[in-house]
Amino acid sequence: MGPKKGSASNARVTRNGQASTSKASSRGGISKRQGARPLKVDRDGDLNMDASAAGSASRSQPKRSNNNATSSSAPIRTSSRNPRPTAKTQQIIQRVINGDPSQISAHRAGRRTDVAPPVILRVQGLKDSKAASNEGGGLKELLTFLERKSQTVGHTARPVRIKKSQINGDFVYITASKEDAQEILKVNNFYFAGATLQITEVPEGLPNRDSTPLSSTALEMKEQLRNVLSTRYDVNAKLLNLSTLGEDPTLNQMGFFRGEATPEKMFKALMAICEGLFKTPQAKRDAVVSISLAGNNINDVSQILSLTDTFPDIVNLDLSRNQFKDLKALQKWRHRLRSLQTLLLNDNPIEVANPNYKAEMVTWFPKLLNLSGIQVRTPEQVAATAAASRPTPIPQGGPDFRDINRVGEGFITEFLPLYDTDRQNLAAKYYDEQSTFSIAVNTHSPHEAGVPLPTWGDYIKFSRNHMKRNHAPARQQRLFTGASQIQALWNQLPPTQHPNLAAQFDKYIIDCHPIHGLADPAGQSPLGVDGMIMTVHGEFDDQELGTTKTTKRSFSRTFVLGPGAPGRNPIRVVSDMLSLKAFKNVPSPATTQATTVNDQQKQQMLLELSKQTGMTPEYSQFCLDGANWNFEQALASFHEKRAQIPPQAFVAAA
């Protein structure tokens, strides 16, 4: 496959592609014939360069018309590498193959609007002519004949040009401009390769293509491809052997290697059929582990791109004996085939052209073990890389409780029990006219497995989760400002029971630290006053309103505390934000660390710390013991206390 194998010279693509399709399926596509300028007519009057070359050449490079030299001779099978068609020309080819006349005519109309609509002629007689046995069904010869004869018969100086052609049953439908059609009609009853041509105008336009029995031929084709696949699948090896497709008798018989675009199309079709064979991606993974595409003359993975769509998880891939010559030809798979373990690129030009390709391939495919028969990684290395790339969360530490004069401690020890027993007095004591309170329910938080999700009916109507509430009035309403509003709300919330802070301190994590620049309630200090921010993570049981049903929930509550106004409680709550979620134990730093460190890891840490700090193993152990065998912490505390560490703690410098 690929452009080189079995494909006709570039200049023939339109007609041959068209003809081979029509032969296989007995229906015609529409060929667009472009590039007709007087300059481009060669000796035969054959101005049909391939659509792609003509399409671009006629617009930008008129001089390329001397390419026609090749097109005047009979189709040549050539093994020389043709330049890859550009995306644009491919698009044009695709359009031609698909026979989408609407796009073509729209395109032309855009350029020449003052021309009479083209005329469609029906030509009968090709089937009976000797040319019908030619490659391509003789269509090309017929068209050339019609153009040449009509020009000479009519003695016209300008070339006669057939824009489109389509084989439909016994007839060939051709499209030409009104003027040219008049000339072509003069060729009626001429002899062409032993048969009389009957040319008539078809006023009603092209016959409806849908009326021809497409589906049966398509089905037949699909069945044939499916057979090809089944003969090439090895159940035991889980191998889909698609090597040397160009020599496959069935595929050759179907005419896939006579056009240029068709091998790619055929491969796409094969992949589409594979896709349909498996119900789930897993079934596909289980059935096909290895694919061989050896010996297919592929020179760029874009020709077989559908492989990675259909088999993204393939493990072994044989691409040997192809024509990959550089990394660019493989570039499109750089971020695909993540599970690839074996890739064979033996006998490809890249081996000589770029001996360094292996290093690159290893970085492209993270699990690649075997490249062209050489081991590039061990499975252990792959596992180690995967483990290393797995993120490690920032370690969980104990409370960060930077209190000022035990104000924070005093506040929270009083707050939690009072919130359970006497919210009215709590609000009266700590909250004033400017204090704010709000609740946000986070219904999407991760929670303990197996625990039923709680209901939020009593809270949700007050919830102020801004990710959910985009309605401004709702946002406003749910901010409760002033002690009286807060008291009123607290009355409507379910009664709660928090664990005793002193007795069950492990059920809480409390962080606090000083902040600056709060508004001075006394109105004295222009730069504001100092306060504190405190975040409490914990749990409580609540009792659903009107029932006795209790639910355990987790909460996070953040307070901004500041000095009270003169004559009021010395501490005021500036802001109180309560966030509720499904119950989950708060993380406990001590236990998670202790359970994960075994003796071997300890030994490794010891060595590493000793190496990084220059301390003796003995002192390294002190340090790690002090940090509860948390390496990061040990290192941090080393840097912190470095000045105080005695000199004998360090290994004597050599």
Binding site: P281, S445, R464, I533
Partner: protein, 236 residues
Amino acid sequence: MDSILEAAQDFVDHYYETLNKRQSLAPYYASTSTHLTNASVKPDISINGRVVESVAAYEALLDAQGANVHYTVSSFDVHPVNPNYALGCPENLTVAFDGNEGGGPGWGKVSKSIKDGDRVSFAIQVRSVPQSFHRRLSMCMGFLIPEARSKVVDLVSCLWYNAYFIFIYSGTIRYGKPGDTPAPAATEGGAAVEGAPAEVAFNEAWLLVPHWEALGRNAARGLKKWVVVSQNFRAL
């Protein structure tokens, strides 16, 4: 109020995106502002109970987590803390705290600014809680020249430029890529997949203050309007 909501929304939209891409977080913190730094305002960063010395140190911690850590915010809330934050406020954006009668601190200059159409300094100079501000504004508008009046209405949205506010974000952190190797099997509807990315909840409380450099007349483009003075993060 809307303005701080917008600020919080803006922060949630940008900060966590920056975090997930592991781009520089420095522009979000008070340490980026010379005015604030000169007034000894310094971000206080507490991560899982550890006090982190600087933004760079926090970024080092984030880097140590490795790639493919993704933060998703599922809930947030915001409160004003101090409508009139003054620490590090530069001269040209502030007025003397003279406590003069009637208009309140700096009020005389405010009305002058309105007449001059000086939008930013107007907003910055407002030194009052919002309720009384509206009262004062209507009082003020009575004697404003007509062309300035429309500006005033326009300016109300700038009201909170010097607010000091707090917000809480909570959400989840996903460790590992969603498409990590064992994950495709999850699409089969099978049982829990071993090695699937772990998700934990987090709660993060932030205090933000005005970024004075971003509020001046010829402020550089692209500066954050608010910067972080306090961050408290906990994975839960």
